[in-house]
């Protein structure tokens, strides 16, 4: 079965640079979530989209923005990167019109800011 795809898997950036992370949800899933997981931490919710519209925001810095496109893939744009942005970034998808409770996570993008 198709899973959530994320790219790139690894990314190294300098401070103050920008980064774009991509997520391709499971086909026919209508909801996408972004999470950030710091070292030794649990995943923290950043932002979500339902049917290509921003649904909710969590603890997402103003330097970050995201969108979902017509093909349902989503991109997380991160600007003015800081050392503290180094983390694993996960995308998850679910089918809201189904049970909606279970989220399927991608393999993550490991971002290192130097």
């Amino acid at each position: 079965a198709a899973g959530v795809i994320q790219s790139p898997r690894h990314l190294i950036k300098e401070k103050r640079e920008t980064a774009t992370l991509k997520c391709y949800p499971i086909p026919r899933h209508d909801t996408v979530y972004w999470y950030q997981q710091g070292p030794g931490q649990d995943p923290q919710f950043l932002i979500s989209f339902y049917e290509k519209m921003q649904s909710d925001k969590g603890s997402i810095p103003d330097r970050f923005s995201a969108q979902q496109f017509s093909d349902y893939h989503s991109e997380l744009n991160m600007s003015s990167l800081e050392l503290g942005d180094s983390a694993l970034y996960f995308c998850a998808s679910s089918l809201a019109s189904g049970s909606g409770e279970t989220q399927y996570f991608g393999p993550g993008t490991r971002l290192l800011v130097l």
């Binding site: 979530y33 649990d42 979500s48 409770e101 279970t102 996570f105 993550g108």
Partner: protein
């Protein structure tokens, strides 16, 4: 505040034994709880969901219980194997449809 807590950061057991992981919640009544497995550097993988009106749910060697009196969910792995070594996350639904995770319990199964 509404909390979900996994009090054990780590659990070490011998192969073949049953691993029992605990998830406690306070100041709210979740309609359901979920358990995920996460391997290092990888995304969480859904294992089981249990609703508040369900006492127990099973899937192969996995069993989860939900005790609304104790405000607790227990996650059991029977006949544990070294391949079961991972971090196990308890999660509840947040107000925005997102998942709110506990800190996780790192399980190590020794041969």
């Amino acid at each position: 505040s509404q909390k979900i807590e996994q009090n054990s950061e780590a659990l070490n057991i011998q192969e073949g034994k049953t691993a029992t992981l605990t998830c406690n919640y306070t100041n709210y009544s979740p309609a359901y709880l979920q358990w995920y497995r996460q391997d290092p550097g990888r995304g969480p993988v859904f294992l089981l969901l249990i609703r508040e009106n369900e006492k127990e749910k099973r899937k192969e060697r996995l069993k989860v219980t939900f005790d609304t009196t104790l405000k607790q969910s227990l996650f059991h792995i029977t006949a544990s194997q070294p391949a079961d070594s991972a971090t196990y996350l308890c999660a509840r639904r947040g107000s925005q449809g997102n998942l709110i995770f506990g800190k996780g319990t790192k399980l190590s199964v020794k041969p």
